[in-house]
C-alpha cells in the first residue's frame, strides 16, 4: 500500500512515516505543505494521503482544502485528515460527497499504533474513519435536541461506533457482543431513527452522520 504524508513538522512527519513503514506500508511521498502534497498526488498517485489540516502558509485549513481538491480530481485516492483538534463543521464539509475513502482523526490517535494503522487500512480499503470525538460532539448536539434520546444506552454505543466507520465485526469485538446481536441493534437503531438500512459501512456512516447533524 502506498502512502503520502503531509505535515509541516518534520519530526512528526518522519515519525509518522516510520510508524507506517514499520506496519508494512510504503511511504512514497512526504510533503511540508498542501502544494507539495498536491504535486506528490499528481505524480505518484498514492493509495492514501495522510495530511495535517493546519499547514503553511496561513495555518488555517490548507489540508482540508487540499483534501477536497484531491477527492474531486482522484476519487480513488483515500484521504485521512489529522488535526490537533476536531471540528464537526470540518468533518461534515469533508463528508459532503460521501464517506467512502475518508478519514478524520485527532493527531493523538497515532499513539495507539494498532488502532491507527487499522483506521488507515480501513480508509484506504474504501471505508471511513471518523474520530469518536466528532461523533460525540454530534451526539451531544443531537441529544440536546432530544432526538436520539429514545435510543437505549447499548444502542447509543453501537451508533457511536457505527458513526466512526466501524464494521459490525469490529463493533462486536469492541463491545464484546456477537455479530448477530450487533446486527439486531443496528436494525433497531435504523428503524428508531427512521433511516433506510444499508449494508456498506461507509454508506452507513454517512446515513448516521447526516442524521446526527440534521
Amino acid at each position: 500500500m502506498h502512502v503520502a504524508v503531509a505535515d509541516d513538522s518534520v519530526l512528526f512527519r518522519e515519525g509518522l512515516a516510520r510508524l507506517l513503514e514499520s506496519s508494512g506500508m510504503e511511504v512514497t511521498g512526504r510533503a511540508g505543505d498542501a502544494a507539495e502534497l498536491l504535486v506528490i498526488v499528481d505524480t505518484k498517485q498514492p493509495d492514501i494521503v495522510i495530511t495535517d489540516i493546519r499547514m503553511p502558509p496561513t495555518y488555517t485549513t490548507e489540508g482540508l482544502v487540499a483534501a477536497v481538491r484531491i477527492r474531486e480530481r482522484y476519487p480513488h485516492v483515500a484521504v485521512l485528515l489529522l488535526s490537533h483538534y476536531v471540528e464537526t463543521t470540518h468533518a461534515l464539509r469533508l463528508l459532503e460527497r460521501g464517506a467512502a475513502r475518508i478519514g478524520y482523526l485527532l493527531k493523538d490517535r497515532v499513539s495507539d499504533v494498532r488502532e491507527f494503522t487499522d483506521a488507515v487500512r480501513r480508509v484506504a480499503g474504501g471505508g471511513s474513519a471518523i474520530d469518536p470525538e466528532v461523533v460525540a460532539q454530534l451526539l451531544v448536539r443531537r441529544r440536546r435536541r432530544d432526538l436520539a434520546g429514545e435510543l437505549s444506552e447499548r444502542e447509543r454505543e453501537v451508533l457511536h461506533l457505527m458513526a466512526e466507520g466501524r464494521s459490525n465485526t469490529a463493533i462486536g469485538a469492541t463491545l464484546h457482543l456477537s455479530e448477530k446481536t450487533v446486527e439486531g441493534h443496528v436494525r433497531s437503531i435504523f428503524s428508531k431513527l427512521g433511516l433506510e438500512p444499508t449494508v456498506e459501512d461507509h454508506r452507513r456512516v454517512l446515513a448516521v452522520l447526516t442524521y446526527l447533524k440534521a
Binding site: 513538522s9 519530526l11 512528526f12 515519525g15 509518522l16 516510520r18 510508524l19 514499520s22 506496519s23 493546519r54 495555518y59 490537533h84 493527531k107 493523538d108 497515532v110 499513539s111 495507539d112 499504533v113 494498532r114 491507527f116
Partner: protein, 733 residues
C-alpha cells in the same frame, strides 16, 4: 372644471410658438392701447393724482398700465411655452385677456364715441366689454388662486367659494344693466362714454337693484375667504408646493394690501352701523387724505397686481427653485416698513405739529430739522425692530440669544452625556441665529470629528485635519468659531446663514459665547471618544494576544506532545525490538521536556510568576538578565505596590525591552525605576538607531492604553540615530 395634476411636459416647438405669439400679441395690444390713449388725450381728465398735475398723472398711469399689460403678456407667453397643458396656464390666459380688454376697448370706445364719433366700428360694443371682462377676470383670478400651484383645490370643501365668485359675476353683470350711461372706461377711466342700452333691458337691472348691497360686500368677502384659503394652504403645504405658494402669497399679499387702500375714499352702504362710527368713517372717506391714499394706491395696486403678481406667478410656475423667496420677503418687510415709518413720521410731524403751530403752507426750517433729527434718532432702533419682525415672519420664532445660552448652561448643569448635549448645542445655535446649517466639531486625537449637526445629517462620522477644511465643506459663507478650553483647542462651531443674510452682532456674540461654553462639553466628548477608541484597541489587542497564544500552543507544546505520543506508541508497538525501543523512549521524553519548556515560556509571557512572588524589582532584574542586549537596571523603590501598578510597570519594561532588542540594534540598554511624590517613574533608554514612532506599532499604543487604565501616561523620545527613551509615569497605589 376638472381638477388635474399639473405635470412637467417636454415642450416642443408648438408651445414655444404659441407662447411667443401670445407675448407678441399682448405687447402689440398694449402699444395699440398706448396710441389710442395719446389720441384720446384731449378728452377731459376725470381725476388727477394728488401732488401731480393732470398731464403727469396721465403719463404715470399710462406707463404703469402699459408696463403691466406687457408684463402679463410676456409672462403669459412664458407660461404657455413652459407649461402648455396646465389648467393654470389656461386660467392665466383668461385672466390676461380680461386684463387686456378693458384698457384697449375703453380707449377704442372713447375714440369712436367721444373723440371722433362714428369713426370706428363696433365702438358701442367696445364700450360694454370692460364691464364683462372685469368680472370675468375676477372670477378667473379667484379660481386660479384656489387651484394654485398644482391645479387642484386644497379640498372639496372649498368648491362653494368658486361657486360664490360665479354668482357674484352673474349678479354684477345683471345689475349693471340698469343705468348704462355714462360708463367710465379706458386706461385712465377718465372719460364718460355715452352708451345707450336698449330700454327694454333696464328693468332687469332695476329689479335686481336690491342685490347691489350684497354684491358690494361679495367682493371683499370673497377676497377674505380666498386669503384664508391661501393661508391655510400655505401652512399645510410642504416642499415644492410650499415654495411655489410662498412666491404667490407674497405677491398676492402686496397686491391685496394696495387694493384695499384704494377703497379708502369709497363710502360703502353702512346704514346698519351705529351713527358715530358711520359718520366718522364717512367723514374720513370724504377727506383729501383718503382721496390721496386711494388715488396713489390705485397706481400701486396696478403695479402690484399687473407687474409684481404675474412675475411672481411666472417664477412660482417655472423657476421657483432658483430664487430664495425668504430673502425677498424679509427685505420687503424691512424696507417697506422703513418707508412707511419715514412717511408716517414726516406726516405726523409736519402735518400734525405744523397745523398745531398754525402753519398751513410750506415747511418751517426748524420743523424740518426736528423731523430729520427725530428720524435719525429713531431709524436704527426701528430698523432693528423691523428686522426682528421680518425674521419672525419669515423664519418663525427664534429663541432670544440669552434664552439659548441659559438653556444650554442648564443642560450642562444637568450633566447630560455629550452625545445628547452636542446635538442640542447645534440645534440651539441654529434656532438662535436662524442659520440654515450648524455643526459642532470636536478634536479627538489629532483630528477634528463632526460630533453633531443641525439639521441632523445622520451621515457617517466625518474627520478632517485642520479647521480651514471645516468651512470649505460648505459652499458660500460659513462662520467658524474655534472652541478653546484651558488654552487648548478642543473643537469648533460652524454656522451657515441662509443666502443673503449676514451674521448680525448679536448672533455673532451668541456664537462666541456658546463656543466659550462648549469647551467643557467638547472636552468631555473627547475623553469619552478617546476612552471608546482605547477600549476598542484593548479588545482588538486581546484578540491578537489570544491568537498569538493559540498559535504558540499549537506550534509548540501541542506538537511536542503529539510527537512524544507518536514515539511512545511506536515503542509500545515495537515491544521486543530493544534497540528502537530505547531510542523511541528517549525521543518521547525529549519531546515532553521540550513541550514543558515551551509552556513555561508561554506562561511567563502571560504573567511573570516572579512579579507576584518577589515584586517588581526582582521581576525586572530577571527580565534584564535574560535580555539579549546587555541591560543595566537601577531601581530606587522602597516597597511593593498594588498588583495593577506593578503589572503595568512590568509590562512597560518588558515591552520596551522587547522593542529595543528587536528593532533598535542597541549595544546597551538602561532601565531605571524610581518613586517621587507618589508617582512611579520608569525609564527605558537604549543607544540604538532611534526613529521609533508612537503611532506605529500596536505594542506601544497597547502600553499607552494599559497605563491610561492605571492613571498614568507614556512619552517617547526617539530621534533618528539618537537612541530611544521611553518614559512612563503612573500613580503609586
Amino acid at each position: 372644471m376638472a381638477a388635474r395634476i399639473e405635470t412637467l411636459h417636454r415642450t416642443g416647438p408648438a408651445p414655444a410658438i404659441a407662447g411667443a405669439g401670445i407675448a407678441l400679441a399682448g405687447t402689440a395690444l398694449a402699444i395699440a392701447t398706448l396710441v389710442l390713449v395719446i389720441l384720446d388725450r384731449q378728452s377731459p381728465t376725470f381725476y388727477t393724482l394728488p401732488g401731480l398735475d393732470a398731464g403727469w398723472s396721465q403719463v404715470l398711469r399710462t406707463v404703469v398700465v402699459t408696463l403691466g399689460l406687457i408684463t402679463f403678456s410676456v409672462i403669459g407667453g412664458v407660461i404657455v411655452w413652459r407649461r402648455p397643458q396646465s389648467l393654470l396656464s389656461l386660467l392665466f390666459l383668461v385672466l390676461m385677456v380680461s386684463l387686456w380688454i378693458p384698457p384697449f376697448a375703453g380707449e377704442y370706445a372713447t375714440y369712436g364715441l367721444v373723440v371722433a364719433p362714428g369713426s370706428l366700428p363696433l365702438a358701442d360694443l367696445a364700450a360694454w366689454t370692460p364691464k364683462f371682462s372685469t368680472d370675468l377676470g375676477f372670477m378667473a383670478g379667484v379660481v386660479f388662486v384656489l387651484c394654485f400651484p398644482n391645479g387642484r383645490l386644497m379640498s372639496a370643501r372649498w368648491w362653494p367659494l368658486a361657486g360664490l365668485t360665479l354668482l357674484y359675476f352673474a349678479c354684477d353683470l345683471l345689475i349693471g344693466l340698469d343705468d348704462p350711461y355714462p360708463l367710465w372706461v379706458g386706461m385712465l377711466a377718465t372719460t364718460g362714454v355715452p352708451v345707450t342700452l336698449p330700454p327694454a333691458v333696464w328693468p332687469i337691472g332695476a329689479w335686481l337693484g336690491f342685490l347691489s348691497g350684497a354684491v358690494f360686500w361679495a367682493r371683499p368677502v370673497t377676497l377674505i375667504l380666498v386669503a384664508i384659503y391661501l393661508v391655510r394652504r400655505l401652512t399645510s403645504a410642504s416642499g415644492e408646493v410650499r415654495l411655489q405658494l410662498k412666491w404667490f402669497v407674497y405677491a398676492t399679499t402686496i397686491a391685496a394690501l394696495t387694493l384695499a387702500l384704494t377703497l379708502a375714499d369709497s363710502v360703502p352702504p353702512l346704514d346698519w352701523l351705529p351713527d358715530p362710527i358711520r359718520s366718522s368713517l364717512q367723514q374720513f372717506a370724504g377727506s383729501e387724505t383718503a382721496h390721496a391714499v386711494a388715488s396713489w394706491s390705485s397706481v400701486l395696486s396696478v403695479l402690484a397686481g399687473w407687474v409684481l403678481l404675474p412675475l411672481a406667478i411666472g417664477v412660482a410656475m417655472v423657476r421657483y427653485r432658483l430664487y430664495d423667496i425668504d430673502v425677498v420677503i424679509n427685505k420687503t418687510i424691512l424696507y417697506g416698513g422703513l418707508a412707511i415709518f419715514v412717511t408716517v413720521s414726516y406726516g405726523v410731524v409736519v402735518g400734525g405739529v405744523g397745523s398745531l403751530l398754525g402753519q398751513r403752507t410750506g415747511l418751517d426750517p426748524v420743523l424740518g430739522f426736528v423731523t430729520i433729527g427725530l428720524l435719525a434718532l429713531l431709524l436704527l432702533p426701528v430698523r432693528a425692530r423691523l428686522q426682528d419682525l421680518a425674521n419672525s415672519a419669515v423664519y418663525g420664532k427664534r429663541a432670544k440669544p440669552y434664552d439659548v445660552l441659559s438653556d444650554f448652561a442648564a443642560s450642562i448643569g444637568r450633566a447630560q452625556p455629550a452625545d445628547v448635549l452636542l446635538p442640542r448645542m447645534a440645534e440651539l445655535l441654529r434656532v438662535g441665529t436662524g442659520a440654515s446649517v450648524t455643526e459642532v466639531w470636536a478634536k479627538v486625537g489629532d483630528r477634528l470629528q463632526l460630533a453633531a449637526s443641525s439639521p441632523d445629517t445622520k451621515s457617517q462620522p466625518d474627520n478632517v485635519l485642520r479647521t480651514e477644511e471645516i468651512a470649505s465643506r460648505h459652499a458660500g459663507g460659513a462662520s467658524v468659531e474655534p472652541v478653546f478650553h484651558d488654552g487648548q483647542m478642543l473643537g469648533a462651531l460652524l454656522l451657515v446663514k441662509p443666502r443673503g443674510e449676514d451674521l448680525n452682532p448679536v448672533e455673532r456674540r451668541l456664537l462666541h459665547d456658546l463656543a466659550s461654553q462648549a469647551g467643557l462639553v467638547l472636552g468631555r466628548f473627547r475623553l469619552v471618544q478617546e476612552l471608546r477608541e482605547s477600549r476598542a484597541r484593548i479588545v482588538a489587542s486581546q484578540d491578537v494576544e489570544r491568537h498569538r497564544i493559540e498559535r504558540n500552543l499549537h506550534d509548540g507544546a501541542q506538537q511536542r506532545f503529539v510527537n512524544a505520543l507518536l514515539a511512545l506508541g511506536m515503542a509500545q508497538a515495537e515491544g521486543g525490538h530493544e534497540v528502537n525501543h530505547d531510542a523511541l523512549l528517549a525521543e518521547a521524553s525529549r519531546e515532553v521536556r521540550a513541550g514543558l519548556n515551551e509552556l513555561r515560556t508561554l506562561a511567563r509571557g502571560l504573567q511573570s510568576p516572579l512579579l507576584a512572588e518577589a515584586g517588581l524589582v526582582a521581576a525586572i532584574s530577571d527580565l534584564a538578565d535574560r535580555a539579549a542586549v546587555p541591560t543595566t537596571f537601577i531601581a530606587a523603590i522602597p516597597r511593593r505596590y498594588s498588583e495593577s501598578t506593578e503589572s503595568a510597570a512590568y509590562f512597560v519594561v518588558a515591552e520596551a525591552l522587547t522593542n529595543a532588542v528587536k528593532h533598535s540594534a542597541a549595544q546597551t540598554i538602561g532601565v531605571t525605576i524610581s518613586e517621587t511624590a507618589g508617582r512611579l517613574s520608569i525609564e527605558v533608554r537604549d543607544d540604538g538607531i532611534g526613529g521609533a514612532d508612537l503611532t506605529r506599532g500596536s505594542g506601544i499604543i497597547g502600553l499607552q492604553d494599559r497605563l491610561a487604565a492605571a492613571g498614568g501616561h507614556l512619552t517617547l523620545e526617539s530621534s533618528p540615530g539618537g537612541g530611544t527613551v521611553i518614559r512612563a509615569e503612573l500613580p503609586c497605589t
